[in-house]
Structures are given as structure tokens and as C-alpha cells.
């Protein structure tokens, strides 16, 4: 389906939806339509969209012959799944025991303050950052631990995390001025 990507659609970002939808189908076909494939399918689809839009969940239900209520039930059970869009950078602060006793709370407060977020507001308006807490990332030896997208940061301090964020913002700004990749 490479061709569809080059759709001359007149306005930007349009071809993307089509491409993603194609991807959803690919994912479903690859995993097959047995109920046990539901979770891996949702995982991959979320990777594609960064969240699980209602229409896509409905579509998956149709394709797999499940009732949408079951799909919705599964999607709301596991904390990995998000039904609201997440930011480009998902910051996961470990609040597992090891990290908690070494001050993960302070890191969270510092981040919330920096990004204007809270327990209720997890994603910044510009969809750049999402801050979540998780219990244990399995790198307890480095407590307190923060994971930003796929990268793990150990022995983080409130000041340290602010620096990392500043760095990301700086990189982002730089990128904006650079020519778009795709």
C-alpha cells in the first residue's frame, strides 16, 4: 500500500488518515480475528494512532465480530490503553516502592509545575507532553526512574528532569525551523 501514501490530496495531513486506516487493517489481518488477538491488535493500533479513537475501536469490533462493549471494556481495563490522544512525549514517572522511597513524588510535582499539568490534566494542550505515573519500570536499582517514550532515565532529580524537558523543547523548536522530513 505504499502508493496510497503519495496521494496528492491537496491539503496536508490528509493522506495520513487513509494510511493509518490501511495500517489498522494490516494489523488486524496479521493477527487474525480470533478474540485472543484483541489486545495485541489494540496495542499496535495505539502505537499507530497514539491513542484509541472510538471509531477505530468500533471498526475493530466489527472486523473481529465482537460487540463494541467488549472491546470498550478491554480498552478501559488496561492502563496501557488511552482513549484520549496522548502527547508526542509520554513521560512516565515511576512511583513504585523503590522510586517512591527515593523521592519520585517530588519529581512528579516538579514536572506538573513545569508543564502546567495535574492528576486530572495529563496532557499539555499542544499535545506535546503527557505525564503519567507507573508502578515500577523494573529499573529499581536506578531509583527514582523516569521513562520518556522508550528511553529510561535513572537517578533523576527534580532539577534534572526539568533540564531534560528543556532540552526536548529546545530540540523541538530547532526541528520546527528545519525542513519537514515527510
Amino acid at each position: 500500500m505504499g502508493e496510497v501514501m503519495q496521494l496528492k490530496t491537496g491539503s496536508e495531513g490528509i493522506g495520513v488518515a487513509g494510511r493509518r486506516f490501511t495500517k489498522v487493517n494490516e494489523i488486524i489481518e496479521r493477527h487474525g480475528r480470533t478474540p485472543s488477538a484483541l489486545i495485541p491488535i489494540l496495542q499496535e493500533v495505539q502505537e499507530e494512532y497514539r491513542y484509541l479513537p472510538e471509531e477505530i475501536l468500533t471498526y475493530i469490533a466489527v472486523a473481529m465480530g465482537l460487540n463494541p462493549a467488549n472491546v470498550y471494556g478491554v480498552a478501559t481495563f488496561y492502563s496501557q490503553f488511552s482513549l484520549a490522544p496522548k502527547g508526542k512525549y509520554v513521560i512516565r514517572i515511576c512511583d513504585g516502592t523503590a522510586c517512591h522511597v527515593r523521592g519520585s513524588e517530588k519529581i512528579k510535582t516538579a514536572l506538573w509545575e513545569k508543564l502546567g499539568l495535574s492528576d486530572e490534566r495529563k496532557t499539555t494542550d499542544d499535545l506535546r507532553f503527557t505525564v503519567e505515573t507507573v508502578s515500577c519500570l523494573g529499573a529499581c536499582g536506578l531509583a527514582p526512574v523516569v521513562m520518556i517514550n522508550d528511553r529510561v532515565y535513572g537517578q533523576v532529580t527534580p532539577e534534572g528532569i526539568n533540564e531534560i524537558i528543556d532540552q526536548i523543547i529546545a530540540e523541538e523548536e530547532g526541528e520546527k525551523n528545519a525542513p519537514e522530513e515527510n
Partner: protein, 628 residues
């Protein structure tokens, strides 16, 4: 493709000969912790440096050229992650800690020239200053006995040939060629191995039950969900020695009559998933998994399933539901999985570490396994030692060693010379042990009798600055958040227990809460459906048992003795310690601090908003928040 046992033997011998041509080997830890600290860059730098010296060689080159050289490989976690990135040299056993890419030239130079190791990169004892060159000599490692973790940190987990060279898959070959399924079960039973997933259920018995279940189809599941916060041993094994798990599972498959296995790995472990997938692929390529393994007629395939973020999916029936694509809610037992598990078929579920123990038991025999550990809890057990100890990390010790040996021997005592207060063992479902338990042996039964449990093996050490009420609240917050919400006692009960503990921490506790909390804890323990709810009250119950005064101080006197609970804090300058520097005054946002330079300052409790800023800036620790 290995078609029979002799193929495997021959391959092992050939590989051993090859490895003999290594003049030295550099192992760079590529566990999650070290990667986070930049070990991949270190690896690259070391590789470049070796090439510069013209000594770099790979397994492929060794096979072709006959020219000796130094290999460099990425290993799994050594358990001493805090000191990472770690670099180990073989055969010397030298361990470098906190290595940076810039250190590569020095390291390689020393290695190639045969000179002494780079001293500044060696482990220095934080108190005595003694320098340790060899990994095994470091106090952190000295008292350990590595069995399940044996290969972690000393082989390349992505290279099946290293595993084979170290007698990998020999146990499977032995089982397939020499033993009947019931013999295997008997051997495991004789070893006394108990499940390392927390419950300590006798593994041999479980295998035998599954073996005896009649069905056309059976499954083996490896539980790699490891949701306990503060625990990461299963992760290290999956990342550092994946083939051992595959071998253990295949042996189990043969013993119970299953031809299909699943490894359920939690979503937070992407590296483990990647390594396991590679390992399965390699094992299939070598004919060690798949159809007609080693010509025995035994088929066994393994699939990897990723969790999606739910602690309760570590519970076996919830895990099964999750593999089936459903909400991970436990169901009542009986029927047990050994009768009706995945898709209603008999299913054997064991923990990662349990499987990792299998190959050696088969190879060395049950009696060998029993040499370590106690009568009722034989063998070794891994623990994740974290919290306020000097050395944190992953350890493996014989069962039955005392808490003291772990905390003070391996862990090197409490950080910053503080006083030991408690150790939380078994994660959120375990309990706290105190000073009086320091000589308690760490084994399944002793811990249960003290109100704690081995659980998955998380050991969180707490010092005098820890508030036990806050800790109980923290664990309750965790279980409440992770409850699946199916049964009433756990869903509603943990919520209310949390409510009560939160009140205590917020300074709004009521005296009558004590009775309600206790009653609730007992009802939730008795009434819940699965282990999560049944054990959720443990931290509260041990807190009430061992630190009742501390709780009473919170609710009756509105005081947090450890000075942790913000709402209860009462900030005051300790006149004797105050040097009158005035820094605290500058940071106070509400001008609650006053005083003259070089004289003790004072805090006006009426104005103070308990922000804690002054404590952080006082270089003389002259401000206390413990209150009255």
C-alpha cells in the same frame, strides 16, 4: 538444525574450542539500567578501541581465521545497576563501574598491554575505601550464590551459541532421551523446588497434577508479569538469560504433555520481549523448539504475549483471561488451571525464576539443588534489594539467610549512617519486618509466620526517616489502583482503607478509625476473591502490629514521628544546631522565619505553610519537621 542429542553435544564441544581462542572478552552490561546510563555508547567506544588496536574479533571470525583476539559482547544485568554502566573482563573477572565512553582507550590499553586494571574505575568500598578488582570479591557479590542468575551478566543473551557452549539445552536433551514425563515430575518433586512467583507452591506437585489431567491439548505458561513495584529479577533473567527459560518451559512441556507454551511479559519490559523473541527464533532455527525436537518426536512451540498494564494479570486466572483477549479479571478457583486453564485446557503456570531453576535441577540432580537453602525451602532465591541501603541491586542467596545478612552483609547497611527501621518484603502484598526480625531466616514459612511473604522477592529497606503510616498508605494506594474491581471486599474495601489511611496522613484521622481499619482489613483478607485482595491488607496489618504507636500518634496526637507527613509537620529550628546563616529566611515564601545573623533563627508556626523549603536549604540540618 540439531537433529539429535549428539548433534548438540558436538556443537557444544566445537563452540568450546572456539571460545578457547578468545584471549579475552569484554562484557558490557546491556540491561535496562545500564542502557539507561549509556552503556551502549560505552560498548561502541570499546569496540572501536579494540579495532584500533587490531585485536577485535567476533565469533564468526574466530571460526574462520583461527587467529585469537578479544571479543566484545553485550550482556544481561549483573544486578548492580546503580553502579552502571558495568564492564566485565574475562577471564580476569575484573569489573569496572560507572564506565563512560571516554574511558574506553584506557580500559583497552590496560587489557591489551596486560597491565593492571584501571584503578579509578574499580569498585571502592564507600566506607573503608578498599579497592576490589574482581567482581566476585566485591562484598555485594561475595555472599551471593548465583544459580538462576548464573549466566546473567556473563553471557551474551542474544547469542544462543554462548548458551549452548555452557551446556545449554543439555537438560532438555537429557529429559528427551533418558527420562519419562513422570520421572521428570518426580525429580522436580524430589528437589523440593517451590514456586518463585510468590505463593511457594511445590512445583513438582503442580507439574504432576497437570500431567495427570486428561486432555487432548495442554499448555505451559511462563508468568513474566512481575508487577510488584520494586522487583526486577524476572526481568533480569528474561533479558539476561532467555534461553534458560525456554529450556525450562520445554522440559515442563515434555513433563506435563503440552506442546504449546506462552510467555506473558509485562508491557513495561520491551527489552525482555525483544530478547525473548530473538531467543525463540534462534531456538527454533536450531531445532531446539518446534517440531520433533532433537529427533525425540516431542513438539513444543513458544509464543510471547505482552501484557497491557495491569498488575492483577500476574494472578494466574487473570493472566489466562488476558491471553484469551479479555479483561484481566480473576475467577474463583477451583477449578485450578491444572484442570481448566487457557481455553479451558489443563495449563501449567510457573514463574520465570521457577523455570530458570529447572535446567540445573535436571542436570545436577535434586540432591544438588537441596544443598542450598533450608529443608522446606530449598535452593536459592533472587531478591531485589532497594530502598535506603548502601548497595541496591539484584541478588541471589540461599533461602534461609537472615534479613541481617542481606541488609548489612550484601546491602552494606543503611545509607548515610541512618538507623534501620523496617524492611518491606514481598511488595505491596507483603508486610514490614522490623528490627526484631533482623535474624529471621528468609524462607517461605518463616516469613508467613511473621505476617510477611516472600512474594516475588522485593526487599525495600527503610530507615528512620520513613513514616510507616505513609508507607502503608502508599501500598494501599497501589493495590486500590490495581484492583480489578470485580469483587466487593477488594474493590470497595481497599478504597475505604485508603480513605482512612489518607485521613491519618492528612492529619484528619479519627481515633475510632483504628477499629474500623482493623475490622476492614480482616474482612478484606478473608473475603476477597484473589490473592491481590487477600493480601492487600498485609502492609496495614503489619503496620498496626509493629508500628501501632506511630499510627496512634498520627490520629490521636496529630503528629508524624518520622516527620514525613506534610500536613502533620511542625517546622521548628533546633536552636543548638542553628548557625544563624539566614538562608532559610531567604527561601521562606511567607516570611515565617525571623532572626539575627549568627543567632538561632525561629519559625512562626502561625505563618508557616509547611512548604518544607527551609529544611532543604539548611546546610546544618537545623530545622526539624517532626513536630511537637
Amino acid at each position: 538444525m540439531l537433529r539429535k542429542k549428539t548433534d548438540l553435544d558436538r556443537m557444544r564441544d566445537e563452540l568450546r574450542d572456539l571460545y578457547k581462542k578468545e584471549t579475552a572478552r569484554i562484557l558490557v552490561c546491556a540491561g535496562t539500567g545500564c542502557v539507561a546510563n549509556g552503556s551502549l555508547q560505552v560498548f561502541k567506544a570499546l569496540q572501536d578501541e579494540l579495532e584500533k588496536h587490531g585485536v577485535f574479533i567476533t565469533l564468526e571470525l574466530l571460526a574462520g581465521e583461527k587467529k585469537p583476539g578479544v571479543t566484545a559482547v553485550k550482556s544481561g544485568c549483573h544486578g548492580f545497576c546503580e553502579m552502571g554502566p558495568l564492564v566485565r573482563l574475562e577471564p580476569s573477572g575484573v569489573l569496572y563501574i560507572k564506565v563512560k565512553p571516554e574511558d574506553a582507550p584506557e580500559i583497552v590499553e590496560a587489557l591489551v598491554s596486560g597491565g593492571p586494571p584501571v584503578e579509578r574505575l574499580l569498585y571502592h568500598h564507600p566506607v573503608t575505601g578498599e579497592v576490589f578488582a574482581e567482581e566476585e570479591a566485591i562484598p555485594f557479590y561475595k555472599n551471593q550464590q548465583r544459580n538462576a542468575l548464573a549466566n546473567c551478566g556473563s553471557i551474551d543473551p542474544e547469542e544462543i551459541r554462548e548458551y549452548i557452549a555452557r551446556d545449554g539445552y543439555q537438560a532438555l536433551a537429557k529429559v528427551l532421551t533418558e527420562l519419562k514425563p513422570e520421572d521428570v515430575c518426580r525429580e522436580i518433586t524430589a528437589s523440593g523446588l517451590r514456586g518463585r512467583g510468590g505463593g511457594g507452591f511445590p512445583t513438582g506437585l503442580k507439574w504432576d497434577l497437570t500431567r495427570k489431567a486428561k486432555s487432548d491439548k495442554k499448555y505451559v505458561i511462563c508468568n513474566g508479569d512481575e508487577g510488584d513495584p520494586g522487583a526486577f529479577m524476572d526481568r533480569s533473567v528474561m533479558e539476561g538469560d532467555p534461553h534458560k527459560i525456554l529450556e525450562g518451559m520445554a522440559i515442563a512441556g515434555y513433563a506435563v504433555g503440552a506442546d504449546e507454551g506462552y510467555i506473558y511479559v509485562r508491557a513495561e519490559y520491551p527489552l525482555a520481549v525483544e530478547r525473548l523473541k530473538k531467543a525463540v527464533q534462534a531456538a527454533e532455527d536450531y531445532g531446539l523448539l518446534g517440531k520433533n525436537i532433537l529427533g525425540s518426536g516431542f513438539d513444543f512451540q513458544i509464543k510471547i504475549k505482552e501484557g497491557a498494564g495491569a498488575f492483577v494479570c500476574g494472578e494466574e486466572t487473570a493472566l489466562i483471561a488476558s491471553i484469551e483477549g479479555k479483561r484481566g479479571m480473576p475467577r474463583p478457583k477451583p477449578p485450578f488451571p491444572s484442570d481448566s486453564g487457557l481455553w479451558g485446557k489443563p495449563t501449567l503456570i510457573n514463574n520465570v525464576e521457577t523455570f530458570a531453576n529447572i535446567p540445573r535441577i535436571i542436570t545436577n540432580g535434586a540432591a544438588w539443588f537441596r544443598k542450598a537453602g533450608t529443608e522446606k525451602s530449598p535452593g536459592t532465591k533472587t531478591f531485589a534489594l532497594t530502598g535506603q541501603v548502601v548497595n541496591t541491586g539484584l541478588i541471589e542467596v540461599p533461602m534461609g539467610v537472615t534479613v541481617r545478612e542481606v541488609v548489612y552483609g550484601i546491602g552494606g547497611g543503611i545509607r548515610g549512617g541512618k538507623k534501620f527501621k523496617a524492611v518491606q518484603i514481598g511488595g505491596p502484598s507483603g508486610g514490614c519486618l522490623t528490627e526484631e526480625h533482623l535474624d529471621l531466616p528468609l524462607d517461605f514459612d518463616s516469613l508467613l509466620s511473621a505476617g510477611a511473604m516472600v512474594g516475588s522477592g522485593g526487599l525495600v529497606v527503610m530507615d528512620e526517616d520513613t513514616c510507616m503510616v505513609e508507607v502503608a498508605r502508599f501500598f494501599m494506594g497501589f493495590t486500590q489502583n490495581e484492583s480489578c474491581g470485580k469483587c466487593v471486599p477488594c474493590r470497595e474495601g481497599t478504597k475505604r482503607m485508603l480513605e482512612i489511611l489518607q485521613r491519618a496522613v492528612d492529619g484528619e484521622g479519627r481515633v475510632e478509625d483504628l477499629e474500623v481499619l482493623e475490622e476492614l482489613a480482616l474482612a478484606v483478607k478473608d473475603g476477597s476473591l484473589c490473592g491481590l485482595g487477600k493480601t492487600a491488607p498485609n502492609p496495614v496489618l503489619t503496620m498496626l502490629q509493629y508500628f501501632r504507636d506511630e499510627y496512634l500518634a498520627h490520629i490521636a496526637e496529630k503528629r508524624c514521628p518520622a516527620g514525613v507527613c506534610q500536613a502533620l509537620a511542625a517546622y521548628a529550628v533546633i536552636a543548638e544546631k542553628c548557625k544563624g546563616c539566614g538562608r532559610c529566611k531567604k527561601v521562606c515564601p511567607v516570611e515565617a522565619i525571623s532572626g539575627e545573623v549568627r543567632k538561632p533563627f525561629t519559625i512562626d508556626p502561625e505563618k508557616c505553610i509547611k512548604c518544607g523549603a527551609c529544611v532543604d536549604v539548611c546546610a546544618f540540618k537545623a530545622i526539624a519537621r517532626g513536630g511537637k
